[in-house]
């Protein structure tokens, strides 16, 4: 084989150079030490404590949700443990007027954005009142179709731009979601319109059972943003400070007319994909599990806060007890929801004039139900 000319154009080298630029940003290491002072978002003691409180609260919510599901007291549930930093620190960087389009695992974010817990439980159980978002709470419902929330986020962001609102849109998908056409269409539309959107890929390493390595030849998922011409970041998704910092930065860029940002958060879900029979031992080893557990967001954040004198066991127990109480109370409220009727479903089908067929069926079911 002839030797390559020194100046010959080399597409492979070109790609390597781009890929090498995507180093994972970390601020707080696994031992709870700040290793990247310039990027430290400088959260106040109060904010740090609040973020830790939310992460502990959500870990308890996850544990309780799993056991409530096993008891048949909750329905569809996608476990969140391991993803608390990725989910909650990104939401923590938002303001209440920012709009969230979640995936089905992103229920904690919308709870902290204002969805009452009992409604999250009703949603899980499959009761329509769970989805009746309270006025003024800026969220869409958890998306089931992988990737659909990305194109919708582009739409909400364009709408905000047209309205001249000083707020942004954030949406979440997983590593598997980046293989969907809608993923690319979403980031590309938002890029083309230069809209204020933040696209988060929570790379928890598995799309149900399919490993990240089978989704794409790309070295990182973050680099996919380059194809749409938008700023893209790879961040340690188990590091709450790093997730917060990049989200905050993306938000400010969007508000200043800098357009959308794509953020890949490297994280892990400790539990199964959902509680509907997924068994992670079929596709993951316990070695991999424990390797990731060492990077746990709660462990490192607890160490960091303890070092600052902001956290201790007593505080943590208080949060745990409060979480359990709130969950209990919310379940009680959810239990009190009325039994669903077909006439309810017919009544919420249309905002405007009820079509003839629905009107007719409503008469039939209302009569049946009043017997």
């Amino acid at each position: 084989m002839a030797a390559k000319k020194a100046n010959a154009f080399d597409p492979e080298q070109n790609l390597r150079e781009i890929e090498d630029k995507f180093e994972m940003l970390q601020i707080l290491n696994e031992d709870g030490e700040i290793i990247n002072k310039e990027m430290d978002p400088g959260l106040s003691d109060e904010q740090l404590t609040e973020l830790m409180t939310r992460m502990v609260w959500t870990r308890i919510l996850d544990q309780r949700s799993i056991s409530l599901n096993r008891q048949g007291r909750l329905g569809f549930y996608a476990p969140t443990a391991g993803q608390e930093a990725s989910q909650l620190a990104s939401q923590f960087a938002l303001e209440s007027e920012d709009f969230i389009l979640p995936g089905y695992r992103d229920v904690p974010q919308i709870i902290f954005h204002g969805l009452p817990l009992e409604q999250a439980f009703l949603w899980s159980r499959g009761h329509f009142q769970g989805s009746d978002v309270p006025d003024g709470v800026n969220i869409f419902l958890p998306q089931i179709i992988i990737g659909a929330q990305y194109i919708q986020a582009a739409g909400v962001a364009l709408g905000k731009q047209k309205r001249g609102e000083k707020s942004v849109v954030i949406t979440y998908t997983g590593d598997g979601g980046t293989s969907q056409g809608d993923f690319y269409e979403g980031i590309n539309f938002a890029g083309a319109f230069n809209s204020p959107a933040i696209f988060i890929i929570q790379n928890n390493q598995y799309a149900i059972s399919t490993p990240r390595s089978l989704q794409t030849k790309a070295k990182t998922l973050a680099q996919k943003g380059i194809s749409a011409g938008i700023p893209s970041v790879l961040v340690d998704g188990m590091d709450p400070l790093a997730v917060y910092a990049v989200t905050k930065q993306a938000r400010e860029r969007a508000l200043n007319g800098g357009g959308p940002t794509l953020i890949e958060t490297m994280c892990y879900r400790y539990g199964p994909h959902t509680m509907a029979g997924d068994d992670p031992t079929r596709y993951r080893t316990s070695e991999t599990d424990s390797e990731w557990e060492k990077r746990d967001p709660l462990i490192r954040f607890r160490k960091y806060l303890e070092g600052k004198g902001l956290w201790n066991e007593e505080k943590e127990n208080e949060v745990i007890d409060r979480a359990k109480e709130e969950i209990k109370a919310a379940i009680k409220k959810a239990d009190a929801a009325p039994k669903q009727k077909v006439s309810d479903f017919l009544n919420i089908m249309y905002r405007g004039d009820m079509p003839q067929n629905v009107k007719e069926q409503l008469d039939i079911y209302t009569k049946k139900e009043s017997k």
């Binding site: 329509f128 009142q129 194109i151 986020a153 539309f189 249309y350 067929n357």
Partner: protein
């Protein structure tokens, strides 16, 4: 009053609603400077600005997602899907998302979105442009499906569709775009969705049709009248929901009916109309209700389409079977 083609009436309706409501947004592939591949949006970007009338990147699913997101922001999006044969690319946004918006949020959100799109045969398009896919749309609860049969209806129905609080699929038959003109009032007017139009009254047979098949049915009626049959032609205008009252009272008057659609025979709107008639008016019928449709093949390539498409001749033939039963 002005003489307008259907495409002019559609542009006029869009202009009317862009003027009436600042939340109305018109967007899609090539709808801006170019005014759309059929010129349906001709001059609208110039008149209303790039903020209200704009081009999107070339991706139907993205256009659908944009409509969902803009509806969440309180806009009244009127996206164009360049040809309805491309609808498969945006099926999730339409059936999976827009149609469910009110239901899945217990009525909190809603989607006042009108998706406009050209379809229909007889104009020698390449593959995947001409298919009649209204049956697919009509099967999705949450959607209304409207198909105008001419310029006057096109304007009134489109204004109603845009003002509707729920998603409407508004399908424009390409052959009707420029094939004839009608008197179209310059002022605004609406035609209610879900109401059929008795185009011609008669006493011996009812022909139910929509879109381009309305004119074919009127031609057929003329032929049949020459032979002494009094034929009623009903333009469904909206294929979901159907105007059951008008359909049933027509059948109760004539006691005989046929249903005409350009779409293939399997499943579909005509089958639905027949089912409604037999469920509600079986004792009025003197003959089975027959259908005139295209055969159950894939829509043929351009040179074969005229042999395949149903027309006045087929309607006369089927009508006679019912009249002579």
């Amino acid at each position: 009053m002005a003489q307008m083609t259907m495409i002019q009436a559609i542009t006029d309706a869009l202009r009317t609603e862009l003027k009436n409501d600042e939340n109305v947004l018109v967007f899609g592939e090539d709808v801006g400077v170019n005014g759309g591949v059929f010129r349906a949006t001709e001059g609208l970007q110039k008149e209303f600005g790039e903020d209200r009338v704009f081009d999107t990147p070339l991706a139907e699913s993205g256009i659908g997602g944009l409509a969902v997101g803009l509806a969440l922001q309180g806009f009244r999006p009127v996206p164009e899907i360049q040809f309805f044969g491309f609808v498969y690319e945006v099926m999730d946004s339409i059936s999976g998302q827009l149609a469910r918006m009110s239901f899945r949020s217990a009525g909190h959100f809603h989607a006042p979105v009108t998706i406009r799109s050209p379809f229909g045969g007889g104009v020698a398009t390449p593959e995947m442009h001409a298919d009649s896919l209204e049956g697919l749309m009509a099967q999705q609860p949450g959607l209304k499906v409207v198909i105008p049969s001419g310029p006057y209806d096109a304007k009134g129905l489109l204004i109603s569709a845009i003002r509707d609080e729920d998603p409407v699929i508004y399908l424009e038959h390409m052959k009707l775009y420029r094939s004839f003109r009608e008197e179209v009032p310059e002022e605004e007017y609406t035609i209610p969705l879900g109401k059929a139009n008795v185009k011609k009254e008669g006493t011996d047979l009812s022909i139910f049709a929509y879109g381009a098949m309305v004119r074919e049915s009127l031609k057929a009626a003329e032929e049949l009248e020459k032979e002494g049959h009094s034929v009623e032609v009903v333009d469904l205008r909206t294929v979901q929901p159907l105007d059951i009252d008008t359909i049933i009272s027509s059948v109760e008057k004539t006691n005989r009916a046929i249903v005409v659609q350009e779409a293939q025979r399997q499943a579909g709107i005509a089958a639905n109309v027949v089912a409604e008639i037999t469920e509600r008016a079986i004792l009025s019928l003197e003959a089975p209700v027959l259908r005139v449709t295209a055969p159950d093949t894939i829509y043929p390539y351009a040179q074969g389409e005229n042999a395949w498409l149903p027309g006045a001749k087929d309607i006369v033939e089927t009508a006679k079977k019912v009249l002579e039963f």
